[in-house]
Assembly symmetry: C2
Homo-oligomer: 555 residues x 2
Amino acid sequence: MEMFGDNSCPPPCNTLGFLQKNNSLDEKGRLAGQKNLLSCDNSDRDARFRLTETDFSNLFARDLLPAKNGEEPTIQFLLEMVDILTNYVKKTFDRSTKVLDFHHPHQLLEGMEGFNLELSDQPESLEQILVDCRDTLKYGVRTGHPRFFNQLSSGLDIIGLAGEWLTSTANTNMFTYEIAPVFVLMEQLTLKKMREMIGWPDGEGDGIFSPGGAISNMYSVMIARYKYFPEVKTKGMSAAPRLVLFTSEHSHYSIKKAGAALGFGTENVILLSTDERGRVIPADLEAKIIDAKQKGYVPLFVNATAGSTVYGAFDPINEIADICEKYNLWLHVDGAWGGGLLMSRKHRHKLNGVERANSVTWNPHKMMGVPLQCSAILVREKGILAGCNSMCAGYLFQPDKQYDVTYDTGDKAIQCGRHVDIFKFWLMWKAKGTIGFEQHIDKCLDLSQYLYNKIKNREGYEMVFDGVPQHTNVCFWYIPPSLRGMPAGEERREKLHRVAPKIKAMMMESGTTMVGYQPQGNKVNFFRMVVSNPAATQSDIDFLIDEIERMARDL
Amino acid sequence: MEMFGDNSCPPPCNTLGFLQKNNSLDEKGRLAGQKNLLSCDNSDRDARFRLTETDFSNLFARDLLPAKNGEEPTIQFLLEMVDILTNYVKKTFDRSTKVLDFHHPHQLLEGMEGFNLELSDQPESLEQILVDCRDTLKYGVRTGHPRFFNQLSSGLDIIGLAGEWLTSTANTNMFTYEIAPVFVLMEQLTLKKMREMIGWPDGEGDGIFSPGGAISNMYSVMIARYKYFPEVKTKGMSAAPRLVLFTSEHSHYSIKKAGAALGFGTENVILLSTDERGRVIPADLEAKIIDAKQKGYVPLFVNATAGSTVYGAFDPINEIADICEKYNLWLHVDGAWGGGLLMSRKHRHKLNGVERANSVTWNPHKMMGVPLQCSAILVREKGILAGCNSMCAGYLFQPDKQYDVTYDTGDKAIQCGRHVDIFKFWLMWKAKGTIGFEQHIDKCLDLSQYLYNKIKNREGYEMVFDGVPQHTNVCFWYIPPSLRGMPAGEERREKLHRVAPKIKAMMMESGTTMVGYQPQGNKVNFFRMVVSNPAATQSDIDFLIDEIERMARDL
């Protein structure tokens, strides 16, 4: 496990900067010619990198590896990029920087101070490329900033980031063990661990990482159909009766999208009523199943949401599972957002019954802070993923290889090539341990409860639903002073509907913070605060509240 | 565009290494304590990084940002990672290193010299994390190595790599302009450029980057169905007659997978006969359309492959387009592999007629050397992607934002969250220009012709099809000396079938090179050589041939 053995090079840090920080440009020029003298020879380990001043204005992509003598400019170019990126990382966590520097599409398209998005026939110098990279970051959004609360995915995990850098350097493909041996095994072990946390016996079952929760949910509908009507694979939907799917009116739209894409039709995705907290009412599910059967339709699939997008609601899985067993339906749990709570001994009870599901979606890129994209579909029955999706393309997945080809994952995916999403997650798990994820999740839930306690009785706030939120979602209206005396009614509704978008626009234009808003059902626009950002603290919650109040003062 | 202004810090390179390379360990310890003296203060630009010796054995993920005082360990940890990665990059291009260090799954699972893939409850030190990263690379496959020819995607483009590092640092999501303003615009401009190269008037139309060619092809089938039978979106496949899709027997299996997934059924994916070069015979298409209609089925969609997976064949698009127009069918061109040839004035004629397609799949991550994943589905008719896929989820895509929300892309995708695949491609295009891609493609095709010329009449080689390959695919059998005298017949076929797998296994175990093999139709296993790797030269082709002959000597 040696890192710096006795023979390692002394640290190549910038004493040059220290010794010569007042050098003239001439001196700099002279030093550039010296750089080869500075290399250190050490046969025991790889040479450590050396950042030198390189003039990139006459260098082009064609001068980099695999070009002859391309090694030095390649390393220097990458190090310059790292310089840009590490500075970005530092600023991301710095509360004195803005979350974003907002510009309208037409402004960016017209070109900002030399930042030209247009592509051309001729190459740009590497100097310009580095400037383009700085500008790309400058006009983007710092999703890891402690005051970025806009999405379910937020934060910038350093281990995950390092994992992504390695993943892109390895630049391989998950479809065979042959070209991704380590990553394929990491995926297998990690999926097993996730199935253990779900509670399936011995972590048995199947699964795959997919490009996001919507695709994971699509997988669940596909395999449910394959389980009950395998002939649809070859004969199409005409081989099955009219199949219906059930999901909460608060569930993610991807179930409906899957219904449309897979040939069920959105009308056959039946929305279930929820209680005031956004949780499915089991009796409504049973009534709608009976109703569908009476119409001659065939209920196939029920989605229970564990952590809904807006309210963060957890459907009662056990009660839903009872009904699924009674009517012999596939039970899927969409834990894209809430699945992470399985890592917390304190909060995992919210998913009680998840072990009774046939399939589970779980996105580590949301509540667990893994960089985008990282989503898993987990399946209780082994082999069904391959049964559903395999086309046995012999030209891609040869059965006569010298290794055990059951490790090849390609034929159970709906994709062919598949990005390596596992490594960053595996590395984070190694670096934090299960316990590290648990601490992160508990902390986020504590923070959201802090917010809830702070505003539930505060003047100007109305909660969208009563009681302590189940997840980190805190949904509220802010009532500006001008609306506080106004009687309930359409006029107040219309005015209130416009408040959150206005405050949000001000936030973005001032760049100080970002939080989401949306309407839901007949409820006008309200803020949905979520906490998944490990950088956020109570002071950031306080800041958000102050900002909302400051910005709404004159609305 | 200033990079190093007059006030910039002098270069922080390793003169320390030069001046003190014989330092004792004591000296090193003393220097470590000095590091803060070495920082350079400069208010005009960001401080450049300084690599210091850091003891990571007592540091953990929890000590990194956003932890208090986490900045220094964070930067040092990332720089150590960069040290590992830049060494890997150098070795990738070094012909004296192996392409891979092969181990069987059970060997890696049992643990290699302290490389333990299992996850645990407790965290590992950052020192161990760095070792894990080294090991991950050590036991992987160098897909950028000049002698890696195994996949359609190969090579390690430095600009693309830098682009991926930036993308993962920005860690955002393509679904709204709100959180990915620059990337959303880059995608829009790049898709337009690609449509211009296809030849659609003014580059008009629509499109989106998707997680790979299989999903892009799935999109094409979905939008074709939506175009002709929009009611399927709401009512399901029962609202349509029995629809059939046509694609070559040499086409990628993703068309069949789409047929299965979307509810058509694989039996309704009709395979078209090809000529001896693997190109669709247009008369066969017309005959099968007529046959399907006579059976009462409704032909919907034809896929023409531009660059088939095994033979690299280009279907005759113009003749297929004539038939599609005659029968009013959707024409999709699967240019996942061959689309890149549109960038070459010399080779783009192979896609003549592509401008008549209704949709085109084009994967820059294949022939254009962009890191995985980067695949586009391009559509001639504007608005149809959104029409097909939108669910108008107000809680995700608010219409009342302060900016022009037509830039939000989320509702036209089948995904919700979507990884940023555009930046690396945009950056490569900027850095190389169209002309750089053209040179790369022309060079790869030249190299494959070199290989073809070398082996077509060489003793021991049989070409799978005659004539100069259309793409970089060169398909051949190698006949070991022991089989050369054997009469044609089942015994020879069986023996020959086992030759390529044996040679491939030897290649992997010796780690010297990798090339793919597969059977096709009634043809026994043969090698499929492809060139997309910018690092490959004629000497690498020579090396491959020598290796095959050396390994097969005693078969």
